[in-house]
Amino acid sequence: MPPTSTTTPPRADVAPAPAAAAPRPRGRRTWFPYLILIPALLLELLIHIVPMVTGFWMSFVELTKFFIRRWTDAPFAGLENYRIAVDVSTPVGQGLLTSFLVTVAFTLLVVSLSWAIGMAAAVALQRTFRGRAVFRTLFLVPYALPMYAAVITWNFMLQRDTGAVNHVLVDQLGILDEAPFWLIGDNAFVSVVVVAIWRMWPFAFLMFMAGLQSIPGELYEASALDGASPWQQWRRITLPQLNAVNSTMLLVMFLWVFNDFNTPYVLFGTAQPAAGDLISFHIYNASFLTWDFGTGSAMSVLLLLFLLAVSLGYLHLTQRKAKRDA
């Protein structure tokens, strides 16, 4: 293993390392864990913590294109950026609200459907049968595929005149008389939901598959002797046994999907249709098209606060439930 100092700037020697404790490795007080945490700590500070604090500060200053070169001199704006962001009587506030509502609907659909599809696939592959490995491998391909490659392919399939989707709907099945647009207008919402589900459900599948492996087979055998139907087995054994996987996974998926920037960005490019204007994409455009980073930061902080509130509420509920069940 190469020396870890390659990622550790020369500040390693100022670690909290009281010399007196040195000869007692793995004792109650040792400097060693702090020493090996330094690379991770410094990187987290540089890339996550400091920028987040800076972003918080930026949301209180008037950081427009005039101040971008000397951004530390931007004048203090108080809560003005927040007022602009939430004032729904203006186009800016209205846009943010619409985008937020679209994102909520998007997240609910993508998370619940990905959950259901992933669960169905994992249960269908729970028994061993010939060809099981083939399906398992196939279902993981969308997860392994680089997201832009997947979304670019969908973009091609959703083209109005040359795409596969309209070819099937109009030419082959004849469900629709006229070829609709899928990447502009209201249909954009359907498109972004389908593409996001295509990429997300294999993750749920993967987690459920890992979780199912740890359920003892005797549980199913015992309940089968008691005459339980497959549905009852799923309801009484599979679901409760997957509780731990479930509670973590739902939160992780919620955060990923709500913050999803890549899918709309690659699917729609810079022409953002209102129906597919997910919030990360919206804030990105609001910041970079108008070069008003103060307001963009205020929007980001509001988004973070919302995610924080939902996550804490969720953790509170699941922990209370876990305690009650115990």
């Binding site: 293993m1 870890t4 390659t6 990622t7 490795p25 793995r26 060693f32 864990p33 090996i36 690379p39 991770a40 700590l41 990187l43 987290e44 540089l46 890339i47 996550h48 400091v50 920028p51 987040m52 800076t54 972003g55 696939a121 269908a124 399906f135 491998t137 279902f139 993981l140 392994a144 680089p146 997201m147 832009y148 490659a149 670019i152 392919t153 969908w154 091609f156 399939m157 005149d161 040359t162 596969a164 070819h167 993967l206 987690m207 890992a210 199913y220 089968a224 497959p230 731990a244 913050n259 920037f261 890549n262 960005y265 690659v266 990105y284 980073f293 930061s297 988004l303 924080l308 996550s311």
Partner: protein, 279 residues
Amino acid sequence: MRETTGEKIFRVVVLSVLSVFVLVPLYVMATTALKPLGDVQSSFSWIPSRVTLAPFVQMWETVPLARYFLNSLIVTCAATLFSVLVAILAAYAVSRWRFRGRGPFMTTVLSTQMFPGVLFLLPLYLIFVNIDTTFGITLVGTRLGLIITYLTFSLPFSVWMLAGYFDGIPRELDDAGKVDGASNMGILLRIILPAARPGIVAVAIYAFMTAWGEVLFASVMTTEDSRTLAVGLRQYATQTNVYWNQILAASLVVSVPVVAGFLLLQKNFVAGLTAGAVK
């Protein structure tokens, strides 16, 4: 235990529907990459009128794909390597010592996972500019900047998963090593790492996929010289003609290494998840 008819129908229906759902885009990607340009500019057809390998040749000339490929490869490999090293060390500390600040460290690291990328994209950009003017280390528009950024993206999950994995390795093994006079580092290298190999492979796959597929930061933090595939593939669309056959040929080529690697090592990934995350 015998399978009921209902279960069998459920299995067949679920597996067929999902196979079609997964396969259609993959099929479109693969066949479009083999179509002549005329085919992709007219109405869609499932079967190419004529199979040609020309898109796989032309795609290197329409945009500087080889350069993007090399950039992605360098950035991703370096980010993966360092991310895994840093995560191993942090996870070792978290798993084997109950030090002061351990709880807050884990909470902070995990909560960075939920930050919206847009919140720290611009501050990070401005901080990189300041580092450049103050210390003379160019991080904006260079591969180095992307490497440092990407390696932290996979870090929280990697630390969390590896810590869980290390927890599953009995401490008696550590103690046996200590009796033999091994140092803390010696125990990590000779006892923990060999036992945790599936977990480490899983974390490496995750780090690789994260860096290879990242779009948001790549779109702001790269210049023409350091552009990665995630942004570079968009260049095909800005041409006067949209060369869909070349775009999908390029998408196919950049996907194959990642998908193949993941599928080969998926057992490790699932094992790593089972031991680490799913507890």
